[in-house]
């Protein structure tokens, strides 16, 4: 099979890009010590999902763009999540004087 440079952007390019973004987000979510960076990684993962939704909406569902409506709902939920998450983070910081994820281990057995 001969490799040719495509003249239009294929759907798979968007899916691969979203996969890279999602995996970066997962890695950051697991490995971050700073609680703010964990929230940023969650935002990266949500954006990856949104890219997938928008790509499918454009390539496979061009007339009823349901993917775009879903992406709007995802953006709404992400905004709510960021607000509540950062409020919880501030409350945690006030009680424990740290943002190190390794020290939020009160419930660990």
């Amino acid at each position: 099979m001969e490799f040719t440079i495509p003249t239009t952007i294929p759907l798979q390019a968007y899916l691969a890009l979203a996969a890279v973004l999602f995996c970066t987000g997962v890695w950051g979510l697991i490995n971050s010590r700073n609680a703010v960076r964990v929230l940023m990684s969650i935002e990266l993962m949500l954006n990856a999902v949104n890219i997938n939704l928008m790509a499918f909406s454009n390539y496979l569902d061009g007339q009823l763009i349901r993917g775009q409506v879903f992406a709007i709902f995802v953006i709404t939920v992400a905004a709510a999540e960021a607000a509540v998450g950062l409020a919880i983070l501030l409350s945690l910081y006030r009680n424990r004087e740290t943002v190190d994820m390794e020290r939020f281990n009160l419930l660990r057995w």
Binding site: P6, T8, L11, A13, L15, A16, L17, V20, L21, F22, C23, T24, G25, V26, W27, I30, N31, L39, M40, S41, E43, L44, N47, N50, I51, M54, N58, Y59, L60, D61, G62, L64, I65, Q68, V69, F73, I75, T76, V77, A78, A79, A80, E81, A82, A83, V84, L86, A87, L89, L90, Y93, R94, N95, R96, E97, D100, E102, N105, L106, R108
Partner: protein, 200 residues
């Protein structure tokens, strides 16, 4: 989209390079302020990708909500909790990073395989292009009306929840005597609810 396909391709390559490098910077940079600003760059390049995908309304919403609200909120949180602290070394950190990297690489390979082996029904219907905003409005007020209203309730709930969680309980005057209270004293007297040497 009215621009030529070669221009679209160049824009896609530039935007995806910015996106991947920015995302790696968000995760890997040691200074969290740089991470937060790079996160804004990532959000902007995602908005550019939405423009390439004929979605001008969602691109505008992305810029307004993510860059304008979420990123600014994250920067505020960084300013509020910005204390230099030397993180205690934990054993097996390198091994943990390697293991999680392997897990994420496996997940990535799985996603790539799914994306390239699934027979997508391409080409789909012709995209609506510039009419997308009208279609979104029709969707939001007909078949997606209930989720739309639920989203408004969710936003109200999260707003109240964030205020309740992040509020500092400080009274401006003494309850009994009615005199003004020294604010600095209250700030100093706040005691951590969970002490560091509490039983685990």
């Amino acid at each position: 989209m009215t621009i030529s396909s070669i221009t679209q391709l160049i824009c896609f390559v530039a935007l995806s390079a910015t996106l991947v490098l920015g995302a790696l910077g968000v995760v890997l940079l040691p200074n969290i302020v740089y991470s937060a600003f790079l996160l804004g760059g990532v959000f902007l390049s995602v908005a550019g990708l939405y423009l390439l995908l004929n979605a001008s309304f969602v691109a505008a919403a992305q810029v307004l909500v993510y860059v304008g609200a979420v990123n600014v909120l994250i920067l505020f949180a960084i300013m509020l909790v910005n204390k230099k602290e030397n993180l205690a070394a934990i054993p097996g950190l390198g091994l943990r990073r390697l293991l999680s990297g392997a897990v994420c690489g496996g997940l990535f390979l799985l996603l790539i395989r799914v994306a390239f082996t699934t027979p997508w029904p391409l080409p789909g219907p012709e995209p609506v292009g510039e009419e997308a905003t009208i279609r979104i409005g029709e969707h939001l007020f007909s078949d997606y009306l209930l989720p739309f209203e639920l989203a408004s309730v969710l936003l109200l709930m999260s707003m109240i929840g964030a205020i309740v969680l992040a509020r500092r309980d400080v009274l401006s005057s003494d309850v009994i005597t009615g005199e003004a209270v020294d604010q600095g004293l209250i700030e100093k007297e706040r005691t951590p609810l969970l002490l560091e040497n509490s039983p685990r």
